[in-house]
């Protein structure tokens, strides 16, 4: 076509041959792969508490207890906690259990239209509070360690501000704190697009959207996420799949991630309004204006030890948004742990596996 394209015919033939070989191998692998081969969240656990759709699970121990006080993992309502337990060799849960942590996780279930009226107040000051009280009762403790992920990080942060007496330490991972921190930065183009999208809507647009759908549809959020990486989203099942289909391990990793992505629940309507309007638009958390159950969420009351983990190339939660926490919390024991990779990569990439679990457990042991 032009002088820049200089494909040697011999190399072109080799490339085509390789393409055909990978394709044949991949199709054969896909043909023999069944849904049962693609399992996620397989770490053994049992249900110990349930309220409405919220279920509290307790993981089976895998090693001698090294951290005395139990840890409760809290994911958000956008996506599911299974991301932290995607596969055996890439599982935060297994990593922590293997290092002697007594581990619980909250599963918010799959909200339907009947859950449209649930607010953040209900999730944080209701369900989460009940789960924490249950663990405290079971272990005869006043307080436990909390570990929040993404939106779940905001839940645990708000909870820690409202009920500091129940939180022994707070670990936040990839958690947005300052929702306007994406502005006036020289970050890459795809960083913070979700912040921009949320601010482009008017409060009335959000109200009408929730009125029409009942909840914030999971599909809509998937679309917004795909806008942040447009071409890789568009070529995922051609170029992306082709790149991994020749290798069974990589292919299964790809399919596990697909399974997690496909399981994106709807976000309860009233809680979504608060999430988008109060936080993304009005940035009330850092302004000290967020109210839950009639009480102001004062981050100055977060005086327990805080570990703040963020991804250096997080396009969904810009690192600055997470790092803003330092200047708002009241604790003197504040630690930051930057990790390589992106938002989901922190939990599923091979690179971060050793660092994340080990980093958290080491920090917890020192504060147990």
């Amino acid at each position: 076509m032009t002088g820049r394209v200089q494909v040697d015919p011999q190399r072109a033939f080799a490339e085509i041959a390789e393409f055909n070989r990978t394709l044949a191998q991949g199709l054969s692998l896909l043909d023999k792969t069944r849904d049962r081969d693609v399992q996620i969240a397989t770490t053994p656990k049992r249900e110990v508490f349930r309220q409405d759709k919220t279920v509290l699970y307790h993981y089976e121990p895998m090693a001698k207890r090294e951290v005395k006080v139990p840890v409760l993992v809290v994911y958000g309502l956008i996506g599911r906690y299974t991301m932290a337990d995607l596969q055996e060799d890439r599982s935060l849960m297994r990593n922590m259990l293997g290092q002697g942590v007594d581990l619980y996780v909250v599963d918010w279930g799959s909200p339907t239209r009947t859950d449209r009226w649930l607010t953040l107040d209900d999730y944080i000051d209701g369900y989460l509070h009940e789960c924490i009280l249950h663990i405290c009762r079971e272990h005869k403790l006043d307080a436990i360690h909390l570990l929040g992920i993404c939106e779940g990080g905001v839940f645990t942060l708000c909870y820690a501000a409202l009920h500091p007496e129940r939180v022994k330490s707070l670990t936040l991972t990839i958690t947005p704190v300052d929702f306007h921190a994406d502005q006036n930065t020289s970050a890459p183009l795809h960083h913070g697009l979700i912040n921009l999208w949320a601010r482009s809507l008017s409060p009335e647009d959000i109200d009408r959207m929730i009125e029409a759908n009942g909840n914030l549809p999971g599909d809509l959020m998937s679309f917004v996420f795909s806008m942040m990486t447009p071409l890789s989203s568009l070529t995922k099942y051609s170029v992306g799949l082709f790149d991994v289909m020749g290798d069974e391990k990589k292919l299964l990793n790809f399919l596990r991630m697909e399974k997690w992505l496909a399981d994106r629940p709807d976000h309860p309507g009233e809680a979504a309004k608060q999430w988008l309007k109060d936080l993304y638009q009005d940035n009330k958390l850092v302004a000290g204006k967020l109210e839950l159950s009639g009480r102001r969420v004062d981050l100055g009351r977060v005086r327990m030890p805080v570990l703040n983990i963020f991804a250096q190339d997080d396009h969904i939660i810009p690192p600055k948004s997470s790092q803003a926490l330092r200047q708002h919390v009241g604790t003197k024991d504040y630690t930051e742990l930057p990790l390589p990779g992106g938002h989901v990569g922190v939990f599923v990439s091979g690179k971060s596996q050793g660092i994340l679990g080990a980093g958290i457990v080491k920090w917890l042991k020192a504060r147990d």
Binding site: R4, Q6, W117, L189, S200, S202, L231
Partner: protein
């Protein structure tokens, strides 16, 4: 142009003709044969032809006046030229129902409301209007997206012709260059105010259409004794409020139980009353 004054013109035309007809009848003039079937014309064929010719002439004159009134494009003003240009504007073609049809719907849906008349029709017309708005907004959104793809292709061609850039030695390198170029173009578009506004508008109009669809579905449900979405939402809201109150009561009860009882001065803990004990058990269960 005010196409909506046309009905007034038609009315005037119809009234004038009716007046002429009644006047003719009152004056004993002959009506046209097609107006009085079975009656033979009274005048000569020549008279009849003349009458018909006159009637046709007046009709043509009235319609011409009416057309000028309703379609000022023919009168040669600036507004008319822009109307003419609109006919040749591809952007207008791509917008479903843009222009006069939309306005007609607007006039119909925003006219006076009657208590028991045309309620469902109005809902249907409104849905039609919102569907057109939605289609227009989707087309506007797609136009922005298409422009970004065109820019991506242009940039890709420029990159291929860049003499300073390193050579592309394989099909994969060629593909990767295209993916990187298009990705950057689409991201720039996604961040632009123009795109965000188009997306917002499209989302809003799709939402409004969906809500209007619900109104129609609810009208059908009401007619056939089926609970509506709104009623279900209300019921669920009531259940939600009750659950919330129940949780608050449970928590209050548990809090009372968990609180150590005040120690009397004698140091003895008073025995709880049987009734209070039963209540505490029920709340805490």
């Amino acid at each position: 142009m005010n196409w909506f004054d046309a009905p007034a013109g038609w009315l005037k035309y119809w009234t004038e003709n009716q007046t002429s007809l009644f006047q003719a009848l009152a004056e004993g003039k002959t009506a046209a044969p097609w107006m009085t079937p079975g009656e033979a014309p009274t005048g000569s064929l020549e008279d009849w032809t003349r009458q018909m010719s006159e009637f046709s002439r007046r009709s043509v004159e009235s319609w011409t006046a009416l057309a000028k009134q309703g379609w000022p494009m023919l009168t040669g003003s600036d507004a008319d030229r822009s109307s003419l240009q609109q006919l040749f504007d591809p952007a207008v073609w791509s917008r479903t129902g843009a222009g006069r049809f939309d306005l007609a719907l607007e006039r119909l849906t925003e006219g006076p409301t009657y208590a028991t008349l045309w309620d469902l029709d109005r809902k249907l017309l409104n849905a039609q209007k919102l569907w057109l708005k939605r289609s227009e907004d989707i087309a506007a959104y797609q136009a922005i997206v298409q422009a970004a793809w065109r820019r991506a292709i242009q940039r890709f061609v420029d990159a291929l012709n860049d003499p300073k850039a390193p050579p592309l030695n394989s099909g994969r390198e060629f593909l990767d260059l295209w993916i990187a170029t298009a990705n950057a173009c689409l991201l720039e578009m996604h961040r632009s105010d123009e795109f965000l506004e188009a997306q917002r508008t499209m989302t809003r109009s799709a939402t409004e259409y969906r809500l209007q669809e619900r109104e129609i579905a609810e009208a059908f449900c009401a007619m056939h004794h089926i609970p509506t979405r709104t009623e279900m939402d209300e019921v669920q809201h009531a259940v939600y409020e009750l659950r919330r109150e129940l949780r608050a009561l449970q928590r209050k009860g548990e809090g009372k139980l968990a609180k150590p009882a005040p120690t009397p001065r004698s140091g003895k803990r008073p025995a709880p009353k049987a009734k209070a004990k039963r209540k505490a058990k029920r709340v805490g269960s």
